[in-house]
Amino acid sequence: MSEYSKDYTMDEMLTVLMAREVRNDDVMIVGVATPCVWAAFTLAKVTHAPDAIFHYIMGNTYVFEPRQVSLLYLEMNTARAYKFQNSGECTLESLPSDTLTTIEWFRPAQIDMYGNTNNICIGEWKNPKIRFPGCAGIADFSMFYSRGSFLYTPRHDRKTFVPKVDFISGVGFPDGKPSICGGSGPQCVITNLAYLTFDNETKRMKIGTIHPGIDLETVKKSTGFELIIPKDLKETKPPTEKEIKLLRGKVDPLEIRKLEVLGGKEREELLNQVIEKELAMEKRFPNLLL
């Protein structure tokens, strides 16, 4: 293990922690508009999980090789597949399987203490204050994974962590019990403040570790329900220098992952920068990372 980095940003912390959850035998779903997830899987693949397989929703493909994260040319990554499927096959075959697809990250707009999630709307469904894009496959997959489902959000606040979600579109532990569909349920929630897990007995959310520089009060204050707090509270292990070097240098040098974290003008500037740099590329195949 190389030295821990002393110079990392929040998006890098999130991405590295997500990468560390991947196992060498995983089949990793890369969804739509989730560059953090893509960067995390690619980082895992070039560090501790060389045999892991990408399952791209945008291509409905199984892909073995890791390539640099890209905005405009992502189909170049997905089309180099050893297997193509259509969405029907892909969704229906992978749904109950323990081998075709094993790990997926969901980013909820709202989450409750049992890991039930909402990506549908704020307010009443019939008359919503905010309509979100929708939950895509979360309603199908969240209750099935034998590895469980994995959650993340760069917005650890009381708008996200709520006592009751406005619409359950992803199943956690309904009423504190495992889903009758047989999956292992949510395993962790990685946020900008902490690494959260679920208590074995009560299935309630508890603090696993708190990120360096964050205090317990901040985490409690930012959560809209009571978290279980372990007696010996530990600090999250930050990214290593090696992880940061790979992430910045190889996996995602254009910092596309940051689009998930930034807002407003900063975000727009980064987006324009990424577009400009990618349009200027002569070679439109993202770099192979082997």
């Binding site: 560059p35 405009l72 259509n86 969405s87 749904l95 469904w125 979360i138 309603a139 359950i168 569909c181």
Partner: protein, 285 residues
């Protein structure tokens, strides 16, 4: 054998009726038949139900154009560019209805259509709030006695499917080089299928392509040739999506957008308006 080749105008006016349930192929920003969406807006079609696996600018544009009364999609958004503004406004104001869908609900709905069964069982969705907003789905116990709880997901019978492909012959065989998504299921189960193709080839050429025809001619009603017809979405491996035009779309008032890019525009005039040769060079892979 009769040729099914026709103009985009003729295909949409012949096969798309007000009130139809229309399946749109592609996913998100990828291989969407956007030229057909513009034609639907030009022809002022009304009261359409739009079904697509993952929607983006296609759905948003049709909602903005006032053509839509209902959306059936597992997701409608503009990806890293943000939310789909007209879709969001339409739902929040109650102007359009939603049939809340997941990925499997659409995939299974189309499978029902092949099999002519009213529903397919799904061991998912259970535990979500979907049953509260979908009175056409129902949880039930396995009638064969295993005790398993299941969700009945209803059939989706499309009136029309519109898909964008790389290659097609004039008889309606269509070949997709990249991901197929639900395009083949839509094309094969819809009552009428319109294929928009980048390129028109001989049947002989389709036979020689590695994955041949995912879309068979016997279910195709119309073939339309429109190079760059998926713009501003992608058509792999010909071109990627046009991020600059997507940003323009999001920044432009829809009435102005319609005047500038949709109404009274031929396809070549449209390509000129969106940036002409430079735009084409930008997106070519």
């Amino acid at each position: 054998m009769d040729s099914k080749l026709m103009s985009l105008e003729e295909a949409i006016s012949s096969y798309v009726q007000n009130g139809d349930l229309i399946g749109i192929g592609g996913l998100s920003f990828w291989r969407k038949p956007i030229c057909a969406c513009r034609e639907i807006i030009r022809q002022e079609k009304k009261d359409l139900s739009i079904c697509t696996f993952v929607g983006g600018i296609d759905v948003d544009m049709l909602v903005g154009g006032g053509c839509v009364s209902e959306i059936r999609a597992s997701f409608v958004g503009m990806e890293v560019f943000g939310m789909a503004p007209h879709y969001r406004k339409g739902v929040e104001s109650g102007e359009i209805r939603i049939s809340e869908e997941s990925e499997a609900s659409i995939a299974l709905g189309l499978k029902c259509s092949y099999l002519k069964v009213p529903f397919m069982p799904l061991k998912g969705i259970i535990g979500t709030d979907f049953p509260k907003v979908r009175d056409d789905i129902k949880q039930f116990e396995d009638p064969l006695g295993s005790g398993t709880q299941l969700m009945a997901m209803p059939k989706i019978d499309l009136d029309v499917a519109i898909v964008h492909v790389n290659d097609a012959d004039e008889f309606g065989n269509g070949n997709i080089e990249g991901a197929v998504w639900l395009d083949d299921d839509m094309a094969k189960t819809a009552k009428k299928t319109i294929i928009i193709s980048e390129k028109l080839v001989e049947t002989e050429d389709i036979i020689r392509l590695p994955r041949r025809a995912q879309i068979p001619m016997q279910t195709t009603a119309a073939v339309v040739k429109v190079p760059f017809g998926a713009h501003p979405t992608s058509c792999f491996p010909n071109y990627t999506f046009d991020p600059i035009h997507i940003q323009t779309y999001l920044k432009t008032d829809f009435e102005e957008y319609k005047r500038k890019y949709i109404l009274n525009k031929t396809h070549s005039q449209y390509l000129e308006e969106v940036g002409g040769v430079q735009t084409i060079l930008n997106v070519l892979l």
